[in-house]
Symmetry: C2
Subunit: 427 residues, 2 copies
């Protein structure tokens, strides 16, 4: 049966509900324990970088002769700055290479802007009004939202489409509310939709600071900059160059890391920004740290070498990830295609498939799947405050489980989506 559910009559739906419930009972009895929650690289992906430990062969000095074992070097080692600056499309003078977490760099960037100010203490967001607000393109990344929530920054959701955030809406909101001080962006292979911001979107983002005022910041988390799954994946414009052309480069913070290039928990992170911003950021950052683990940075340079090396390395990841995405998409297409009960993305890079049920069903689907041992990202997690107003979006993360596990988990998932939908239609 593959006609749209809304063209299916009551009796047929009743039969279908019986069948699907029976199927789900079988899955439950199978005692599955499957996890599609977080965007964690799988063990084989991690093994692509196993050389890292020991790669220095006792040489702890960088090219300029600095002893990397000692304190110092807040902005990272020259070789790492050069490599990751190229990857982020900025000058080597415009990057800081840090520890194992770009999330920490983002946290500090928001924290400093909020309390210390992006241009002297008078510019501290907290001093400019009662409530600081951010735009949150949705669906988006829960850890971005958590930073705002902890720091008391109110989030205003705006829809994220295939070409990026709804820029009409973004411009309108920013124009009428001077307390909107930032926007979260994942410009290439967005988490979770996988969309790549179009040239037009990047150009309009670069114009945004002219509407929003001097202390507005675009927090551009380019976490999946080189994480393509197939050769025809769309490229991203050079974001920094676009902002420079618009003469708004001081409003841009770019972030990235090797968390999904080398070791998820032991990579290196980076923040790119204008010389102006970097000077002030480093001054603030130095209060909480003397410098990052420079040795691990050198390990990364030795392993990845140059942009060609990074691309080769990423092909290894794609070879492991692509089949996983293929299984997910095949199950969705085979199981749900033509039923007109769900939408999903078919990303050409990144770590996620973004899935939308009919309104009001995401939480139900996650519950049903959980009851059969398939753990999904909690419904709502892709929205500020964990609240999806349509209760519709589910993030599927197929990188970590094995092909067999994904196959099994997706059977259960498809069954749960259909069952929840049938039950809604019958209610």
């Amino acid at each position: 049966m593959s006609k749209p559910f809304d063209q299916t009559d009551h009796a047929e739906l009743k039969v279908l509900e019986q069948e699907l419930s029976q199927q789900l009972r079988q899955y439950r009895e199978a005692g599955l324990k499957l996890d599609l929650t977080r965007g964690k690289p799988g063990p084989e992906q991690l093994s692509l970088s196993d050389e890292l430990d020991g790669i220095l062969q006792g040489n702890y000095r960088d090219g300029s002769g600095t002893d990397l074992r000692n304190y110092g070097g807040l902005d990272g080692i020259p070789e790492a700055k050069a490599l990751f600056a190229e990857m982020m499309g900025v000058d080597a003078s415009e990057i800081l290479v840090g520890g194992n977490s770009s999330l920490t760099l983002m946290y500090f960037a928001v924290l400093f802007a909020l309390y210390q100010g992006v241009a002297g203490s008078d510019s501290a967001w907290i001093k400019q009004g009662d409530s600081v607000r951010f735009l949150a393109p949705v669906p988006g990344y829960d850890r971005h939202f958590s930073i705002c929530q902890q720091l008391g920054i109110e989030m205003i959701p705006v829809d994220l489409g295939d070409a990026g955030p709804d820029m009409d809406e973004v411009e309108k909101l920013v124009a009428r509310d001077p307390m909107i001080k930032g926007i979260w962006c994942v410009p290439r292979f967005s988490n979770p939709s996988g969309c790549v911001y179009s040239s037009a979107t990047i150009k309009r983002l670069a114009q945004l600071p002219k509407i929003a005022g001097p202390h507005f910041r675009v927090f551009c988390d380019n976490a999946y900059a080189v994480h393509t799954l197939q050769a025809d994946a769309p490229e991203l414009d050079n974001v920094m160059a676009s902002f420079k052309q618009a003469e708004t480069a001081d409003a841009l913070y770019l972030f990235g890391s090797t968390s999904k290039i080398t070791f998820a928990g032991a990579g290196v992170s980076f923040a790119a920004m204008t010389d102006n911003n970097l000077r002030s950021f480093k001054q603030q950052l130095l209060i909480s740290q003397i410098g990052p683990d420079k040795i691990n940075q050198l390990r990364h340079v030795r392993l990845l070498r140059d942009m060609a090396g990074i691309k080769r390395h990423m092909q290894g990841h794609a070879a492991l990830l692509k089949p996983r995405f293929d299984i997910v998409l095949k199950h969705l297409s085979d199981g749900l295609g033509g039923l007109a009960i769900a939408n999903w993305t078919e990303p050409k890079g990144g770590y996620f498939v973004s899935f939308d049920t009919r309104p009001g069903l995401a939480q139900k689907v996650v519950e049903l799947a959980g009851s059969a041992g398939v753990v999904l990202t909690p419904a709502g997690a892709t929205y500020p405050y964990g609240k999806d107003p349509r209760d519709s979006n589910i993030r599927l993360a197929p990188s970590f489980p094995s092909l067999e596990e994904i196959d099994k988990a997706m059977q259960v998932f498809v069954c749960c989506v259909k069952l929840a939908t049938v039950q809604q239609l019958l209610a």
Copy 2:
């Protein structure tokens, strides 16, 4: 000539001034470039841990089988928790092992207490009055003071003696000012005096929260916990046990790191606190990071193994450091002994000698030494806001330079102290 300067007559002082000025001129002409500023381990000390890179031999799993290459494990790996908990004298459940910087953990602990609260948002210090204050035992560590300064916490200096802070003064201040919310302590081999807090001091510190109220915190940076220079170095009481006995353990945050055990820039850090505190701290910390570099933690466990291993390792450091301290102390004693113009500490551990000129001379001495190519920690750096009210304290850090360099630098230093003093007496 070795009689006290205040028993030396004007004419003799005049002659002495001539001689010392002549000597300083010669040092200047020698074109020296020596640095006694920061407490950085020397290259030979760092080499004691050169095995670290490569020590895992391809095994990236901890004892419980967790793949350390991946995300997760906010509080560190079990082996590292066990080892450093023993070192800090706490239960393994009471420690979080983090990245390469204990300064960052301290920064977060202050930040969270200030804005998020140590026991729910109502307890946020910022909500309890207009100005938050800390006690700052002096001389102390400039980076502790910088955290307070950036976060707008006012510091009140209290004198640090041979047995720790002046507890009469501490208790008096805390009793009359409920906005004093914290105190910085370096309880063993304090930076820079090298003093070890006595049992009596620790006991009174443990009683302090009863006077100061429920949201007061003792920030105990046990950075030199195992950093003895000689066998008869005084032990520190178990700080956590003392606070538990006083039933004030929730008021204690303990910090430490391997920065001066293994690699200064690539070690591991830890924070120890009660289960209560740790639960809330982790909840806050998780907003800015998924987890520390667990691989580097395993490297450290493989290298150091157990407390006996740490002790052996620290003997290697002592063998390199002791001769450096000996030269410093010999120059001070030979050059300044009996002149009654300066005081200095003779530490049995740690990284510094704390030196006091006659009031009003520290800055002058640092300038004179600088003019002859000997860079010293800026005068005042050991005081909040960089202001030593007596302009008297200078921190000498002999760990990094070679024996020859220290020998040369200390000749210059002694000459500058004498010259500055003579000039003051003649003025």
